[in-house]
Symmetry: C2
Subunit: 345 residues, 2 copies
């Protein structure tokens, strides 16, 4: 595959770079003039023909400039992947924001989404970390009124789930506290699997709550990760390809279906390790709604403990050179934060 001469390589890079910020087909003459390569337009034409032949470029119609093909972008990105680093000043600014925000998960998620969207000028998606082997830590039962009880569950990783239960009949706070205390002793450190093998509790209230806890933990394990945070929708609305075609507009529909989004994030990153970046260009033939878009995703967190995914969606000609390092950096940052949050346990 990699039978490109050095000259073809730089040419291809230039073309893609130019197209990314002009959004218009780039021709041989323009290329020869704007960038000081010591080549005539004719030579460039020959090379361009070759690159087109090889599938890296495409021409919208006979006499227009060339436009990168998906293959072209892919090549471009693979070059970009290793080299690019976010400028130190930007790194500092971002870290600073994180460390001075309130140390809560949803603050971090929102911030991450915001940073990604601003830096990349695309739409950002951040999926909260999912504790992979959820272990029970603590439950609180708080009577709020009549028959309604607030149940707050804490997992070992710090994940919290709250739920309002409606009991068959009113129960005093004393009895609730006693039940909670007994269950805390019994369940501390257990996984869902371990819990399901327990024998029935003598006290019927204990038994009822136990079942609810089990059910809730299953629910948390089932949905791959918690919530999804998004930012930057308006960034992309202005792009030329979004105002004309309605192809890319369909892509935005994804953001209204959390389930689909979840699926996409987890599926595409499940086989990649934390720290590795994945770039999905033009839906890769699989995702029809993303035909004209690209997606840069990374998994973050502590493998085996808690991981989440985050990424940026944009037009196929998105500013990869900015997006890729940003995604990588934010993923690393969040990994650190998650790690700090878990490690002492």
């Amino acid at each position: 595959m990699n039978h490109l001469t050095e000259r073809q390589k730089t040419l291809l890079m230039l073309i893609i770079r130019d197209y990314i910020d002009s959004a218009q087909p780039v021709g041989s003459k323009r290329l020869a003039e704007h960038y000081h390569i010591n080549l005539s337009s004719a030579t460039i034409r020959n090379e361009m023909a070759a690159l087109t032949e090889m599938g890296y470029l495409r021409q919208p119609h006979t006499s227009a400039g060339r436009v990168p093909s998906e293959e072209g972008y892919r090549y471009f990105v693979s070059e970009m992947m290793h080299s690019a680093e976010l400028p130190e000043t930007v790194q500092h600014t971002i870290s600073h924001q994180f460390y001075q925000s309130r140390p809560e998960l949803d603050q971090w998620m929102t911030l991450a989404a915001s940073v990604l969207a601003n830096q990349s000028q695309g739409v950002s998606v951040v999926a909260a970390p999912h504790v992979e082997t959820t272990k029970f830590k603590h439950v609180e039962l708080i009577s709020t009124q009549g028959r309604q009880v607030l149940m707050v569950m804490v997992m070992l990783g710090g994940e919290v789930s709250q739920q309002i239960l409606t009991l068959a009949e009113p129960v005093a706070q004393d009895r609730l506290s006693a039940t909670a205390a007994r269950l805390n002793g019994l369940l501390a450190g257990l996984t869902v699997q371990a819990m399901s093998t327990l024998t029935a509790r003598p006290d019927p209230l204990d038994q009822d709550i136990l079942l609810l806890i089990l059910q809730d933990m299953r629910r948390m394990t089932d949905k791959a990760s918690g919530e999804i945070y998004t930012d930057g929708l308006t960034n992309v609305l202005g792009e030329p390809e979004f105002s004309e075609l309605d192809g890319p507009r369909r892509a935005l529909k994804i953001f209204e279906e959390p389930a689909t989004l979840q699926d996409l994030l987890t599926k595409t990153t499940s086989n990649s390790n934390v720290g590795a970046l994945q770039v999905l260009i033009g839906g890769e033939g699989e995702y029809d709604d993303l035909r004209q878009c690209s997606l840069v995703i990374a998994r973050y967190g502590v493998p085996g403990m808690a991981t989440g995914a985050l990424g940026v969606l944009g037009p196929m000609r998105m500013a990869y050179s900015k997006t890729i390092p940003t995604v990588r950096f934010v993923a690393a940052l969040l990994s650190d934060l998650v790690n700090d949050n878990i490690s002492s346990e």
Copy 2:
């Protein structure tokens, strides 16, 4: 102002109705043919000229049909306001969804946003109810690791706030529980005001936590309502006025600035009672970004206890006849739910 003859009235209604679902200027001939009024196109023209004179209609250019002006929409809406009711079957379907969902606030909010968006084909906004006189009920302190402590606070209305604290030094769960118990006894039922008059606690940990509780309750009171839920963005993206002009596109920017949205919701509904609907047409001269849009808002909840706001944003020619009853119905439904949730206290 209301010097319209009966005939002008029906004509105006017909024109607006037609424009709402055709999105095209409506002419006298079309009107005479499609709807069986016993009038010739010439007569209709005369009436249309009169309506234009009075400011209810407008013509994009000399020889095109008429288009409703903002004033026209306003008239239309005021007629609609009282009469319209949601069909019973739809009412049942919606109620059903609510009563079979998990009885949690954020489930309800999400559902409300979804229902509003689907029914009205616009963008929905739902602001969680804000407990107006926040009263403390209960606090739990749970050691999660080292120096970090999870604080869960429950308010009388069932509102919950959780926060992770980092203490100066590790504290055992026993001591945390004791502190929580003491504070629960001390603070139960108090408002922020009442709390601030308390004298300092003897135990330094108690005192620290007390301050944090106070701070957190202030935070909850300050931000007018809790979170904002949104749905249906893609509904509106397809509308003709959104694909051409970028005026309305700016309106969507609002949804990325929770603060602005908050402001809009609270400001415009603060002087109206729960149950009353407000329709903002074309930004009413105040909101520049909403120039080409309309907004149907209602306040819901239990006045004096906990109220929130909800609404639908759409193009100026939105389906008011569906949106208005839906907004009213969902507001009433949420009011009931909030009421049920609070009343027994």
